[in-house]
């Protein structure tokens, strides 16, 4: 516990030092507010409306993230059990990954409108690939001897899946969850850029139109916070679920 507090002291004091320097620099050199607002000016504009926009973005991202995980894992299970489906569908998944989301987002808005669903799908699309790839890798990562152990005792395919493949894949799945937790926010915000009337992406866009840099900064910081919240949540869950894996093993 003592160590934990000590180790979090460093990043906290660095962040505080950075904010103080920033504030001082802006005041000392009279930087115009439309270029770089002082931290105090940014904090001033952070209000209830910002947190409600944050909640919108977080909801969209979380929904896309969860859906992508479910879909990605199911697809991975199918791939692992059928070589021909994997061979046929994997190139499609790669094509989907290489298509820039920014190019797809306007289409999503045309199809689904400016409400939640276009952002949820945008965030789902961007999260899907890492989950799929890592789940496939994890499900295949069983040790040959472990497989032989199950075969020696006549374990069925289902038993090998539930008692060996699935738990073996969990560390891989969690490392993908951490990657896609920050991607999920990117997806939601890109969707909001294209067409929305709420959410952090919308706030960034509107404030840039009005040259309202403090609001813009507040929305940028809020979106970073969304990503951090998701990441921390996943890391906490990872420690509970994959307790046998030390952080430096993967």
């Amino acid at each position: 516990m003592m160590n934990k507090i000590k180790s979090s002291m460093y990043p906290i004091s660095f962040a505080l030092g950075f904010i103080v320097l920033w504030e001082l620099a802006v005041r000392l050199f009279h930087v115009p507010v439309y270029l770089l607002p002082a931290p105090s000016a940014v904090i001033e504009v952070m209000d209830g409306s910002l947190s409600s926009h944050m909640l919108v973005t977080l909801t969209e991202a979380l929904a896309g993230f969860v859906l992508a995980n479910i879909l990605g894992m199911i697809t991975a299970v199918i791939f692992v059990h059928s070589k021909s489906i994997e061979k046929g569908a994997f190139p499609l998944a790669i094509a989907l990954k290489t298509t820039p989301l920014v190019a797809l987002a306007p289409l999503l808005v045309v199809w689904m409108g400016t409400g939640y669903s276009s952002k949820v799908v945008a965030s789902m699309l961007i999260c899907f690939f890492p989950i799929l790839v890592n789940s496939v890798k994890g499900l295949k990562a069983i040790e040959h001897e472990a497989w032989e152990l199950f075969s020696t005792y006549k374990g069925t395919k289902a038993e090998i899946f539930w008692k060996l493949r699935l738990p073996t894949s969990l560390p891989y799945v969690f490392s993908a969850l951490k990657i896609s937790s920050s991607l999920a926010i990117v997806g939601a915000i890109v969707g909001e850029f294209v067409g929305a009337n709420k959410g952090l992406g919308y706030v960034v866009l509107v404030s840039s139109y009005h040259m309202d840099t403090p609001i813009m900064f507040s929305a940028i910081i809020a979106s970073a916070l969304c990503g951090l919240l998701l990441f921390w949540g996943i890391s906490w869950l990872e420690k509970k679920v994959v307790f046998w894996q030390r952080a430096d093993d993967l």
Binding site: A146, Y153, W244
Partner: protein
């Protein structure tokens, strides 16, 4: 001791596993070349040979994880149950010691109820002296303890034959010697159904101190180069490394290794 006497009376010459003219190739690579070998009940056999010659492959044949090429035959005594200990412990890191031992008892044919499996697993943990670590996870245990759990897992299913693939290869000298004699005691013990052990090892000393017979394999494609009986007393004890028979056998094996 009981098992030894019983052995000398009748069942010593009952065959547990027979390999007849077994050859095996992986693709174009011949690994085993016409191996014929009988393993008898109540004996402790070691298999020695250069690394990569096909010793593990030979054990996998006995386990029916691999099939010999056409013409070869692997025959097991009727209703023979076989246990396997791999070179690595192969424990599931998400299961506790006891859960790891229960696992093979509750898959496949599911010969045991949950309660029976649990009782058997507890018994097996006691046999290897780890009853105080029932609920520990593998990462909380040393390498030697992990390998003992792997042995307990194999014993819990009451095998008559135990196949071991360099089971102590990854352990330090002290742990290794300790486990050598623990294994011999388990093999002799009337509390286990275990009657026959086939152990792959790369240590000449280990093979001599532990086994009744030593099977020397030739380099790949491996055949049986020689089968050497060990003229040490049936009940092995620490200190028998001082006996002239021990040195004699070790020297003979060394000479053979040089000529391979």
């Amino acid at each position: 001791m009981a098992k030894q006497e019983q052995a000398s009376v009748s069942s010593m010459n009952e065959i547990a596993v027979t390999l007849k003219n077994c050859s095996l190739s992986f693709g174009d690579v011949p690994v085993l070349n016409n191996v014929s070998l009988d393993i008898y009940n109540n004996e402790f056999v070691s298999i020695l040979g250069p690394s990569g010659c096909g010793k593990s492959t030979l054990l996998r044949l006995m386990l029916s994880l691999l099939q010999p090429n056409a013409g070869g035959e692997v025959k097991l005594a009727k209703d023979l149950s076989i246990g396997m200990v791999f070179q690595k412990p192969v424990l599931m890191p998400w299961l506790t010691a006891i859960q790891n031992i229960v696992l093979p008892l509750t898959i496949g044919e599911k010969r045991f109820s949950k309660k029976e499996a649990r009782d058997k697993a507890e018994g097996a943990l006691r046999l290897v002296g780890l009853q105080d670590f029932t609920n520990h996870f593998p990462h909380q245990l040393s390498g030697g303890m992990q390998q003992r759990i792997a042995i307990a897992r194999a014993l819990a299913a009451d095998p008559a034959v135990l196949l071991m693939d360099e089971p102590f290869g990854a352990l330090d000298e002290f742990t290794r010697e300790k486990l050598n004699f623990e294994l011999l005691r388990l093999w002799e013990s009337p509390d286990t159904s275990l009657s026959t052990v086939v152990m792959v090892t790369h240590s000449i000393q280990e093979s001599v101190i532990m086994s009744n017979r030593i099977v020397m394999m030739s380099p790949r494609p491996a055949g049986v180069d020689a089968i050497i009986p060990v003229p040490l007393p049936a009940h092995r004890e620490v200190g028998m490394e001082e006996l002239p028979e021990y040195h004699h056998t070790v020297n003979e094996l060394r000479k053979r290794v040089k000529h391979l």
